[in-house]
């Protein structure tokens, strides 16, 4: 298809393979991975690394300082601090893993089932989860300690159960968001059992959040466990960092370093786990950014350097061209790429629009037609660059030759007053939080400087002008209370409310049903005739062009391939691309025949 899509595809491929690499690129990510790797290795090889057993005591040498035998000294029972720290890593990390494993074993399947089936299991599970979350965790853990004795394993299993709601809710929400995706429907049609659908199609969306959550849960488990043991509730016969902390605290005046080592180990472990969680999240979100929008790269320094000092007043336009309402000359728009170059999306586009004239810009997705329209409105994303050319409106430049961005100062004086806009998606362009009336009144009060009462009177008149039968009711309604066609009428009323000279309509009927489209086209035609405004109509539909436009330009891959009077272009197109487009129309074709001679592989 079009070029931007190709680019999007290739960057996304690149991104997909690199999640782990990206974690390592993040300095905090490297730090976290390195610390955790060392800790895990130490824990695994504790038996070889530690010079003494975890409880091997030397009564003759208590609370000694560091020497060549006891690298970090000994505690009050004469046990080697270094050895206990090493064995402590084993117990502490294992128990944190146990806690996370218990929480996942309960929360993940329950969340998958509740999210996928909803219904009674969901209600029951939610009830249990709410009860679990309402329980005071520490008190439960103390009770369990009293009932089952000071086992680190039992208390971590209990804590795992207590925090399983976190996993449950995470999983349930993720599953609910994909449960009704079409690919799940397709799997159902294929007769896949629910178990297979969940494991093959749904589990993949919860995998990443579960990994992030687990890193953080392990950190929390270590701190809770250490906290309990620090209070003296741990098992004194097992070396863990928490037990060592408690021991060190008792002797804080005699051997302060006894407190330091376990505290450092706990801090490093918990900190690294949290950092790892963040790094994984950043790495995954980074990927999202690339796939969702291809235009978020910041402009490079080289590009910004070109910006000269701003002139106060716009230069004068070429003599003889000021009679055009809009004149776009040799316009090129580009977006910065990761490698520092600009990728053009609009290239050498020139056209004019006169007062009272309707110009159609036709093209397929990715042809640059919307970008061209947005550059006239000054609504390009901030990183977009005008690579060459100029735009003038009513005899004054809005983009001077040589400028690389649209001058917002000049355009904000025009936008809403003399240039207005009709969008494609009527519903998403009305704020659901305000009534339709207040959304019509506010701009009129600001732009025209009239009173609220006067603006309301005008708004009601406008609503009846755009063919709304009961203007007062619509005025007081919220956007969700009206249909799509009605919402588009409201937006058209808004577009003409400040008596503009130019209306830019971006696919104004694409989201509407055909019968409603016909009505909206009638409305735009009538208003255009009555008000004598210039209209730029961006569309992919030649029928709409034939219905409304005086002149038309055809765009393909950022270039203007053909332009002229509607009758000429539609009746006798010259450019091969225009001919292909018109040949693809189904109207007046013999049914059940091939439209394109060969199958073609480049759709």
């Amino acid at each position: 298809m079009s070029e931007p899509v190709e680019i999007k595809a290739s960057t996304a491929t690149l991104a997909r393979t690199n999640v782990f690499k990206r974690i390592l690129k993040n300095p905090l990510g490297i730090f976290a991975v390195a610390v955790l790797t060392i800790m895990v290795l130490v824990a695994i090889f504790a038996g070889w690394i530690a010079p003494f057993g975890e409880n091997a005591a030397n009564i003759g040498k208590t609370l000694s300082g560091a020497d060549s035998v006891n690298l970090l000294g000994t505690d009050s029972a004469g046990r080697d601090t270094f050895s206990r720290l090493v064995y402590g890593a084993q117990t502490t990390l294992l128990s944190a893993l146990l806690c996370a494993a218990v929480a996942i074993a309960i929360g993940l399947p329950a969340g998958l089932i509740a999210g996928y089936y909803s219904g009674p299991f969901d209600s029951a599970a939610n009830w249990v989860v709410n009860v679990l979350m309402a329980l005071p965790g520490i008190i439960v853990l103390l009770t369990i300690r009293a009932a089952f004795g000071p086992s680190v394993w039992i208390s971590m299993i209990a804590f795992g159960i207590l925090i399983s709601p976190g996993y449950f809710r995470l999983t349930r929400t993720a599953v609910q968001s994909v449960r009704n995706e079409l690919y799940v429907d397709a799997a159902r049609v294929s007769g896949l059992s629910d178990a297979r659908i969940i494991t093959r199609h749904i589990f993949s969306v919860v995998r990443a959040p579960i990994i992030i959550q687990t890193a953080i849960v392990c950190g929390v488990a270590i701190s809770i466990q250490s906290g309990l043991e620090f209070l003296g509730l741990g098992d004194p016969t097992v070396a863990t960092w928490g037990v060592m902390l408690s021991e060190g605290f008792k002797n804080v005046y005699l051997a302060p370093t006894l407190l330091l080592w376990p505290a450092l180990a706990i801090g490093l472990a918990v900190g690294s786990l949290v950092l790892l969680g963040n790094a994984v999240r950043d790495a995954l979100e980074d990927r999202e950014k690339v796939t969702v929008s291809k235009r978020n790269d910041p402009p490079t320094v080289a590009l910004q350097m070109q910006r000269g000092p701003r002139k106060k007043k716009a230069a004068n336009v070429e003599v003889g061209t000021e009679k055009h309402l809009v004149k776009v000359s040799h316009l090129a728009i580009g977006y910065p790429q990761a490698n520092g170059t600009l990728k053009p999306v609009v290239n050498d586009v020139s056209f004019t629009v006169d007062r009272g004239e309707v110009l159609g810009i036709v093209g397929e997705s990715g042809s640059g037609k919307s970008q061209t329209a947005f550059s006239i409105l000054g609504l390009l994303p901030p990183e977009a660059r005008i690579m060459s050319g100029s735009i003038q409106f009513d005899g004054e430049y809005t983009v001077e030759p040589g400028e690389d961005t649209v001058n917002q100062g000049r355009l904000s004086a025009l936008r809403g007053k003399r240039i207005s806009y009709i969008p494609q998606e009527p519903m998403s362009n009305l704020d659901p939080a305000y009534t339709i009336g207040s959304q019509l009144v506010a701009p009129m009060v600001t732009v025209l400087g009239i009173s609220k009462a006067e603006a309301k009177k005008r708004a009601l008149k406008l609503l009846s002008d755009v063919g709304i039968v009961d203007p007062a009711r619509t005025f007081g309604a919220y956007p969700h209370e009206v249909s799509g066609g009605m919402a588009q009428r409201v937006l058209i009323a808004g577009a003409i409310s400040c008596e503009p000279d130019l209306i830019i309509a971006d696919e104004p009927t694409t989201a509407l049903d055909v019968t409603v489209q016909a009505e909206v086209l009638d409305l735009i035609r009538d208003l255009q005739k009555r008000l004598g405004v210039g209209v730029i109509l961006v569309t992919h539909n030649f029928g709409v062009v034939a219905d409304l436009c005086d002149r038309v330009v055809v765009m393909q891959a950022g270039r203007l391939v053909e332009g002229g009077q509607v009758r000429e272009i539609l009746g006798a197109p010259q450019d091969p691309y225009t001919i292909t487009l018109l040949d693809s129309m189904l109207e007046n074709k013999k049914p059940m025949t091939m439209l394109v001679s060969q199958g073609g592989t480049t759709s």
């Binding site: 690919y183 007769g191 055909v514 016909a518 394109v596």
Partner: protein, 291 residues
């Protein structure tokens, strides 16, 4: 034309679909009312209507994705209105789907090869055989064979729709429900994908239930056309008749509302549409006054 399709593959009789409404003892929402259609072997039934008319719901009910409240759906003489998942698995050999949105109908986390092999694996087809079949499918929908190990997001909309069509074709079904399969595509892409649908029908004799909001698309691809409006079928008949000289007032409005790419003919059509609307309004008023 209708005589050629003696053996009905799919028969839907007086189908009613209701969705439970939120709120205690509220009346359920009725999406379909007494809908009856039939599709013969190798035949395409075009289903046209505006958004919310129930055309998609009908397709979903046939696929077992919408609840059947009353009426029957018979496929190859077998009642499938309330088919179990097991039964659906057997049915999926003969009954397949292509959805509207090629962006969400393919699992973004899976490779194209796995997506295409999935329906084959379910039917117990071995890896070697299914690999060969997947290659054949890619070839059939004109996709390069290196697509196997790529993910859906690496493809454009039209290419993804080809993948979705290939998945539907994997088990050589007898009927494919196509739910707005070209409405998310560009004009030239739409033309190529429509060609592909026609080519596949010529090659395999598959039947289509082709759902679309676009009368031109439906006219181009269908043998017969059914028009839906507010959950009911208001008109049904041979494509040439329904889409050229329709009888029902709604179909007439629909036909004249679609703009043609010729300013002069469009002006004429616009005038005809205005006249029709006035006539229909007048007759509605007359009927109201009479009652």
């Amino acid at each position: 034309m209708t005589g050629a399709f003696q053996d009905d593959l799919l028969v839907v009789d007086d189908l009613v679909v209701e969705y439970p409404s939120k709120g205690f003892r509220k009346k359920p929402f009725r999406a379909l009312t007494d809908v009856s259609i039939r599709i013969g072997q190798g035949e395409t039934l075009g289903l046209v209507g505006e958004s919310g008319s129930g055309k998609t719901t009908l397709g979903r009910a046939v696929l077992g994705l919408a609840p059947v409240t009353a009426g029957t759906i018979t496929f190859e003489g077998e009642d499938i209105s309330h088919a179990s998942r097991k039964h659906r698995q057997k049915l999926s050999r003969d009954l397949q789907v292509v959805f509207q949105d090629p962006y969400t109908s393919l699992n973004p986390a899976m490779e194209i090869g796995d997506i295409l092999a999935e329906p084959l694996t379910i039917q117990g087809i071995g890896p070697t055989e299914s690999k060969a079949r997947v290659k054949e499918l890619l070839d059939h929908v004109n996709l390069p064979s290196d697509a196997l190990h790529r993910q859906p997001r690496e493809f454009s909309g039209g290419q993804r729709q080809r993948v979705a069509i290939a998945r539907a074709l994997a088990l050589s079904p007898k009927l494919i429900v196509c739910d707005e399969p070209v409405s998310a595509l560009d004009l030239t892409t739409q033309a190529r994908v429509l060609d592909l649908f026609l080519q596949i029908q010529q090659d395999t004799g598959v039947s289509y239930l082709f759902v679309s909001h676009d009368l031109d698309v439906v006219r181009h691809i269908s043998h017969r056309v059914a028009v839906m409006y507010h959950g009911e079928i208001v008109e049904q008949g041979p494509a040439a008749q329904v889409t050229v000289s329709p009888e029902h007032p709604y179909t007439q409005r629909l036909l004249l509302a679609s703009p043609v790419p010729d300013p002069d003919r469009q002006e004429e059509r616009r005038a005809n549409r205005r006249r029709l609307l006035d006539e229909q309004r007048a007759s509605a008023e007359l009927a109201a006054a009479g009652a």
